[in-house]
């Protein structure tokens, strides 16, 4: 069915307006619906539009289309078609293509502000600490600096038993 307003695009928004005696139906395309003030947003369709107008117009579009996440095997083309990513890793794998999209969808923002998981934060810090301390320990042993090695071992133990 074509849009009743512009008669060109396919109608994707269907409204029912009930007045006293009659039930009027309206069938509009996305754009006309927005212009009439009915901001109904089928998220993923909206998203595809962003792609065609924006991302695919970039010179590197071809390269981007070749990208595939090694962890979940989701390809960028697949994401473009469904609007859904395959795994958390995709945010890094597709970063170059995603960033402009993310900014478009979030009023130009691309950095998280707000809540963050407390536990994850601690764990990450400790992990980083452990990696660093173990590296120092290995070097201390190599250098036969046993005093430093003993101190580092204590520090590592303290974190591991936390």
């Amino acid at each position: 069915m074509n849009c009743q307003r512009c008669k060109k695009a396919i109608a994707t928004v269907h409204l029912t307006d009930i007045t006293k005696h009659e039930k009027r139906e309206k069938h509009l395309c996305e754009r006309c619906a927005q212009e009439e003030g009915v901001t109904i947003k089928p998220q993923h369709v909206h998203y595809n539009e962003l792609f065609t107008h924006f991302v695919m117009a970039q010179p590197s579009a071809h390269e981007l289309a070749q990208l595939t996440c090694p962890e979940c095997q989701t390809s960028f083309v697949e994401f473009r078609n469904t609007g859904l990513l395959g795994c958390p890793n995709d945010y890094d794998v597709f970063e170059r293509a995603l960033l402009p999209l993310i900014e478009r969808a979030h009023e130009g923002q691309s950095r998280h502000v707000g809540k963050s998981p407390r536990r994850l934060g601690h764990k990450r810090d400790f992990q980083d600490d452990l990696i660093r301390l173990r590296r120092h320990l290995a070097r201390a042993i190599e250098d036969e600096d046993y005093e430093a090695a003993a101190r580092l071992r204590d520090e590592i133990n303290a974190i591991e038993t936390k």
């Binding site: 029912t16 901001t39 993310i102 691309s110 998280h112 536990r119």
Partner: protein
Amino acid sequence: MILDELTTHPGEWLRGTGPMSDVVISSRVRLARNIRTYPFVSKADPETRDELCELLRASIKSASKDREWSYVDLSPLDELDRQVLVERHLISRQHADGDGCRGVAFSPTETVALMVNEEDHLRMQSIRSGLRLDEVWQEINGIDDLLEDRLEYAFHPRYGYLTACPTNVGTGIRVSVMLHLPGLKLTNEIERVFRAARELRLAVRGLFGEGTEASGDFFQVSNQCTLGRSEEDIVNEFKTQVLPRVIEYERQARQALIRDRALVLDDKIWRSYGMLRNARTISSEETLAHLSLLRLGIHLERMNAVDLQTINELFLMTQPAHLQKMLGHRLTGEQRSAARAEFIRKRLSDRRPA
């Protein structure tokens, strides 16, 4: 079965109480979360989905150990029962129509509902009647804390909480309010709300309508931007920028109707009452349109033949799945319309004006 008990009464959010309840039906905050090291739901194979279901169900159980939450496994559930959950706003339509292992946990009053394996691994909501955004945000934030102690969320140092669709990334928060705007609809000024919403980049959807259908006088307004602003900021914008304006517009429109078109207004309200008292067959859309006018009439003290509680009950019980559940068997569309009309007539004649 839990569902049979459910269908006899509306959940808390449809109680019609709380601040600004003449205009604001309910307030809701939803958070989207995913578990680290797992693919998102659409890319998870059946075994992985089962594993996620088990993991999340166990975490929810341990996080809610002092509360009497129900957990419903959706995959073996009858279509009608799934529809009941949609009509109660406990799950999304997408979740009802999905496939594979998936479920929902909810509190006895239905203020909290946690969808497992919807588009994201976890979609948790708190919903209450009236304008109570701080309350619902705090409630769901607390539940998120409890789950965070038990699960490792997918979190990115730059992008925040990672979601299957990048439009939800960051806070993963969706704040929404359901509004009853018959005044603006009758005065043809509803465009003002759409314009105000658009300025603030908010989405407006229909409330009870099918899919994207915005029918009747009920609208749901929600944020679209989830990244780069804190949860409190987003909630506060609703409280200080969006809602006072919309509520004011609606109240002004109602007062204008009383001032300039009182007779027409009363006629509309009482005709709706007459329709519902006498109709022999009625669709759910038409029911909704008349109930909307009765609700308006009650709040403007121009209708005393029926009380708010009955209206709220009728809102829910006349929905297709609730109606069939109540009658105990499946009905065709035509049979539903007749059964609906009969049910409404009975309810309204029970409560004659004093």
